[in-house]
């Protein structure tokens, strides 16, 4: 049953459609010939060693960067710059240090011209969704890394975007916090479905979270292989299928790392 749930509906239009997208920085080819279709409300992980172009690809979907060739379509239209409909969560949190947790989360609603009381109500709701009720008036400087990232997730969600882009959001957190936040992210996503693109270089994180894992190749960056993860949620890291998939992807990624000559 859950296997079918993860298949792309034959007639359904993809939410994000990447067609032959490439990115060059001067002579350096960061990404080449990427073709991907991401179904609406799916959870996709981009996985690969660092430098393989994961952020570059995510930035093109976010509208921070334009493809040098090919197209990135969201809802069938080419991406033209960032938009409030595509929320982004960064590894560095990127909270506004001069705004309290509440005012950080209220930022999107404020830009949309909501009334002060609406902004506050929305921000409070999303802060409590990420488990930060009671921390509204704290400045980012007084929050731990895990709490900062919770605020950042609440801030992205408070805009109610249809796409959520996350670039190694848990990369700077300790293992414990990381696993807690993975579980909470899934809980939130299951309540309030969005098309999520999640960049990581942790294989187990990708298997734990994703409907679909896009393993990327290096030199130049490209899509190497796509895995549909059909293990029912909540997933156990000790599940035999989990372990098998982890091993398979590990071998694949190791080959890519060796291409870089790092190990």
């Amino acid at each position: 049953m859950p296997m079918q749930a993860t298949r792309l509906p034959a007639a359904g239009r993809p939410k994000i459609d990447i067609r032959g997208a490439a990115k060059r920085f001067g002579k350096m080819v960061a990404l080449e010939g990427v073709d991907l279709e991401l179904r609406e409300n799916s959870f996709t992980c981009l996985l690969g060693p660092s430098g393989c172009g994961k952020s570059t690809l995510l930035n093109m979907i976010a509208g921070f960067a334009e493809p040098s060739a090919g197209q990135v379509l969201v809802d069938g239209r080419p991406v033209q710059g960032p938009s409030a409909d595509r929320g982004v969560v960064f590894q560095e949190y990127a909270l506004f240090p001069w705004r309290t947790a509440l005012d950080n989360v209220a930022f999107g609603p404020m830009l949309k011209g909501r009334s002060k009381s609406e902004q506050q109500a929305i921000a409070r709701r999303y802060l409590s969704l990420v488990g930060l009720a009671g921390h509204e008036q704290k400045y980012p400087g007084n929050l731990s890394g895990g709490m900062k990232q919770r605020v950042a997730i609440a801030r992205a969600l408070a805009n109610d975007p249809s796409v959520l882009l996350m670039d190694e959001p848990f990369g700077a957190l300790d293992a414990q916090t990381r696993e807690t936040l993975q579980e909470e992210l899934l809980r939130i996503w299951e309540q309030d479905r969005k098309t999520v693109v999640f960049v990581t270089h942790s294989i187990s994180e990708a298997i734990f979270l994703a409907d679909r894992i896009v393993v990327m190749a290096t030199r130049p960056g490209a899509v190497k292989q796509v895995f549909d993860v059909e293990i029912p949620r909540p997933r156990e890291r000790s599940d035999p299928e989990f372990v098998r998939l982890e091993r398979e992807i590990k071998l694949l990624v190791r080959a890519e790392v060796q291409k870089l000559g790092v190990i």
Partner: protein
């Protein structure tokens, strides 16, 4: 990571605020330092006057002489008038510099072509001590108020301008991305990201600029003025009234001290998010 690799480093968030006894001790130390300074001054000046005459006592009045000169000057109303005259010039000149420095700084910092045009000019003018232009300003603007105000404005412009540009240059680009992914327009980015991010730097520039205004007003009043603390010092010099000369210096010092405290508390309030970080 093993527990032995690193000593526990209290992060900024965890550091407790300094306790009261410690703050009191700090304040005590400051008072003591001032007392020691006045003590040395008293010993040298009084000793020179009554014990071993090392130099002409007229050259170094005692602290009491200065206080007496101060009381006289207040009674004649001369001191107040001079303070007001200097402060008026400083406030007007610095006001112009602050507005011009921030506005031009923001424009140059956000618009690249302007930066390429303006930056070299500024870099050319900046190393020239503002005093070098004072005689010219007197020629241009006369010996009235205008020349002093213009001179202060010119001198104080540079630190305000430079720090504003710097502040904008070092705005974290990931904050700009974050804001634009939340739907910020260019105007929103400027208002809600660039400006607050540059604010600490701008405030530092304003404080430096204000200090510099004080610095140069005295020089300007030496040369071309019939009022003000600088004039008071220079006027006292022609009549060889050393106590009054020192009085001028002391008053300038006190005003600078008080204004700096006021500006610092304004800064602490405006940047309370940063203070919060420090705990």
């Amino acid at each position: 990571m093993s527990a032995t690799t690193l000593p526990a480093i209290a992060t900024a968030a965890e550091r407790p605020p300094s306790p009261w006894p410690q703050r009191l001790a700090n304040a005590g130390m400051r008072c003591l330092a001032i007392l020691i300074f006045i003590g040395i001054w008293s010993v040298v000046s009084l000793g020179n006057q009554y014990l071993w005459k090392f130099f002409n006592p007229v050259l170094l009045p005692t602290p009491i002489d200065v206080v007496r000169a101060g009381i006289d000057a207040v009674q004649t109303g001369e001191l107040q008038a001079n303070i007001i005259a200097s402060m008026k010039r400083v406030i007007q000149g610095f006001g112009i510099a602050a507005i011009a420095g921030v506005v031009v700084g923001l424009a140059v910092g956000t618009w690249k072509p302007l930066e390429k045009l303006v930056e070299p000019m500024i870099e050319l003018l900046r190393p020239i001590p503002p005093l070098a232009f004072l005689p010219m300003m007197v020629l241009w603007f006369g010996i009235g108020e205008m020349s002093k105000i213009a001179f202060i404005a010119y001198a104080a412009f540079f630190p305000v301008f430079t720090t504003t540009v710097e502040g904008i240059k070092y705005v974290d680009p990931v904050l700009v991305r974050a804001a634009s992914s939340l739907g910020a327009s260019r105007a929103d980015l400027f208002r809600y990201v660039v400006l607050p991010a540059a604010l600490p730097s701008i405030i530092t520039g304003l404080r430096l600029g204000f200090g510099l205004s004080f610095f140069v007003i005295v020089a300007a009043e030496f040369i071309a003025a019939d009022s003000g603390l600088g004039y008071m010092i220079n006027d006292a010099r022609t009549f060889f009234m050393v106590s009054q000369m020192l009085l001028g210096a002391v008053v300038i010092g006190l005003i600078g001290f008080v204004v700096n405290i006021l500006l610092r508390s304004l800064e602490a309030w405006l940047l309370r998010w940063r203070v919060a970080t420090r705990g």
